[in-house]
């Protein structure tokens, strides 16, 4: 792990409404809870720091993996990110949310590490892939001609209302979901992780990734559809008991 001399200030000025506190150590952006959390961190509250790390570490690793070679390097990048967060905490002014600030640091470090590793192939893939061209839903699932052209030829079959709870109760299903997320291309994975796993607002994601709202939704739509297909395949693959 390297010592980080760089300091970080928030790049984005945003007013935030009070939002409910999220579960599992997560704190909604711009709220009194977030201010309290920052104050506790500055005072050296280890429990607060531990909770913050636990709440976001996995998501940060998934994001970093879009920029660097493998999980081990991603782990190092995320560790460096946390160290930078610790060292720059006094300069955090609350103009952006704490988690947006942390993700901004991560992206800076992951890109830097990716370039240093000369992973140009991955980088060009990252920049160009999945922004256009491919449809989210396989066109073969629709009628191609005739009166029903553009309508379902192979419509999705409804899931049981309790499918999410059943899946969440199964470690095998959770592993399959994480695998589906890990197999997404970096551009799709990062928006899915930020929006759906980390609960970022769409504006926050556009700011931190420097993409347009249209771009965000194109990526998010493809990412969610791929995860949906993975769950569909899981449910159809002899996992009916789940």
């Amino acid at each position: 792990m390297t010592t980080v001399a760089t300091t970080y200030t928030e790049p984005f000025e945003q007013r935030r409404r009070d939002r409910p506190v999220r579960a599992e150590g997560k704190v909604a952006s711009g709220t009194k809870e977030e201010h309290r959390l920052v104050a506790r961190l500055r005072m050296g509250d280890e429990v607060a720091f531990d909770q913050l790390v636990n709440a976001h570490h996995g998501a940060l690793i998934r994001m970093a993996m879009g920029y660097v070679a493998d999980r081990e390097v991603a782990e190092e990048v995320v560790q460096d990110t946390w160290v930078a967060v610790i060292e720059s905490l006094d300069r955090f002014e609350g103009r952006s949310s704490l988690k947006t600030w942390i993700v901004g640091i991560l992206i800076h470090k992951a890109k830097d590490r990716g370039v240093r590793e000369k992973r140009h192939t991955t980088f060009s893939d990252f920049e160009s892939r999945d922004d256009d061209g491919e449809e989210a839903v396989d066109p073969a699932r629709f009628h191609q001609s005739g009166e029903l052209a553009g309508h379902w030829a192979f419509p999705p079959q409804p899931w049981d209302d309790r499918t999410p709870e059943k899946l969440l109760a199964s470690q095998q299903a959770i592993d399959a979901l994480y695998k589906a997320i890990d197999e997404l291309p970096g551009t799709l994975r990062e928006v899915l992780v930020l929006r759906d796993v980390e609960g970022f607002e769409s504006k926050e994601i556009c700011d931190v990734l420097q993409i347009t709202e249209n771009n965000l939704y194109v990526r998010l739509h493809r990412a969610r559809e791929r995860v949906r297909l993975a769950v569909e395949a899981y449910l159809e693959g002899g996992q009916k008991a789940v």
Partner: protein, 90 residues
């Protein structure tokens, strides 16, 4: 070809087109007229209704995925770095 005089919400939406609108509709990012057309299509189309419900369930699932545990070695390193910073600033 643009069809004149047909109220927008009633213009026929294909399933293929509707399937592209699901995420924006679920996230409240679809303009009112477009969303109305989409909702009308859903009311009439069991396939799109099923897919819409599935994507909603996917969102629910992802928000509730249990967190993976931080590796003990990483956790130890980070807590040490945190303590060192606090000790240094005191």
């Amino acid at each position: 070809m643009t069809i004149l005089f047909e109220p927008l919400p009633l213009r026929r939406l294909s399933c293929e087109h509707a399937s592209e609108l699901t995420t924006r509709s679920l996230d409240g990012a679809l303009p009112f007229i477009e969303n109305s057309r989409y909702q009308i299509h859903l009311a009439l189309c069991p396939g799109c209704r099923a897919r819409h419900a599935q994507l909603k369930q996917i969102g629910y699932l992802l928000r509730r995925l249990p967190k993976e545990r931080v590796r003990p070695a990483s956790r130890r390193i980070l807590l040490e770095a945190f303590r060192a910073r606090i000790a240094h600033s005191c």
